[in-house]
């Protein structure tokens, strides 16, 4: 670890190769290119969704909200499934690694964000189609329940303790929470709510409308990959800073203790800065 303490100011590190090449933070050449492709896809989605695709015979122009509402819901489902798969990979001893836990946490946060967009865009669409922003029908209620469950998952991740304890408890919760997804998905078949049923699988749209929807799905999938790469690296940096912070706090504490003298004049018998960490100390 080449990190150094600089008085009370905290930590410093020499510029990395990435920073010297203008790729500081969590970026790489791949994520930059992926970001550019995603931006092109978003521009394409906006152009097709708002200007090229035709209005629907029944819903008229409000159908344009489908090209953003459905991809956000798809992305949230994808993110929560990735969270569950990564959590299972962490719990399985042969593949246990904190990287899986970070991927799970990153994916869940992205999923919660896009679930929120799903609820907001769905409410706007509902205000046009149903004349109200919200009804307590099966699809909307189960979706709201899924949203709240994953907010709880993110809260559980922040309960404190070691990285391993965080990974264990959140992995178990992720495997339980993902069971709600089939409930949400099939709610439109099981309870026949106000929310419309499957659009693509039932082949109720075609042509430019279907193409615009697929542009949205592909673009949002690319966006998810881009966000996931950056977010899980950010979580790795947070863990590293937390670990280094604990190391530095120990060094500072020893330094303070070694300069404190007993009333009789003898100093405390504490190891000098840089000495071995006490048993049970941070790695």
């Amino acid at each position: 670890m080449s990190i150094t303490a600089t008085g009370t100011s905290g930590l410093t590190a020499s510029p990395s190769d990435g920073q010297r090449h203008g790729l500081s933070g969590t970026g790489t050449t791949f994520t930059r290119w992926l970001g550019v492709v995603t931006l092109v896809g978003i521009a394409w989605l906006v152009f097709f969704g708002l200007f090229v695709s035709p209005p629907d015979q029944i819903q008229r122009d409000s159908v344009r909200m489908m090209y953003i509402h459905v991809p956000t819901a798809w992305l949230a489902y994808l993110a929560f499934i990735v969270t569950a798969v990564s959590s299972a990979a962490y719990l399985w001893k042969r593949t246990r690694s904190l990287t899986w836990d970070r991927i799970a946490g990153a994916s869940a946060e992205i999923g919660v964000l896009f679930m929120a967009f799903t609820l907001v865009t769905g409410s706007l669409w509902g205000s046009v189609s149903w004349g109200t922003y919200w009804v307590w029908d099966a699809r909307l209620t189960t979706t709201a329940f899924l949203f709240v469950t994953y907010i709880g998952y993110l809260a559980v991740r922040r309960l404190g303790g070691s990285h391993e304890a965080r990974a264990r408890r959140s992995s178990v919760m992720a495997l339980l929470a993902v069971l709600e997804i089939p409930l949400v998905h099939y709610s439109v078949k099981w309870w026949r709510p106000l929310h419309q049923g499957e659009t693509v699988a039932d082949r109720t749209i075609d042509g430019l409308m279907l193409f615009s929807l697929f542009v949205g799905l592909i673009t949002f999938t690319l966006l998810y990959v881009w966000l996931l790469l950056h977010k899980q690296r950010q979580l790795a940096l947070e863990d590293a800073v937390e670990d280094h912070g604990l190391d530095l706090a120990l060094v500072e504490r020893r330094r303070e203790a070694s300069t404190t003298t007993r009333p009789g004049g003898a100093s405390f018998g504490v190891a000098a800065p840089g000495g071995a960490a006490p048993e049970g100390g941070a790695a």
Binding site: G18, P55, F117, R233, Q234
Partner: protein, 47 residues
């Protein structure tokens, strides 16, 4: 396009989603950059 029905809701849904994603991405990259300044290359295997 000019006479689009429900323009407020349609444009609103695009603006909220894309604006929200942009704000989240900006916040994430800014925080990552600050964190990256505090750790060495060993903790950034992707660089």
């Amino acid at each position: 396009m000019i006479a689009m029905q429900y323009a407020k809701q349609v444009f609103g849904s695009y603006a909220i989603t894309l604006g929200g994603v942009g704000a989240y991405a900006w916040w994430m990259l800014r925080r990552s950059r600050k964190l990256a300044e505090q750790v060495s290359d060993e903790d950034k295997p992707w660089t």
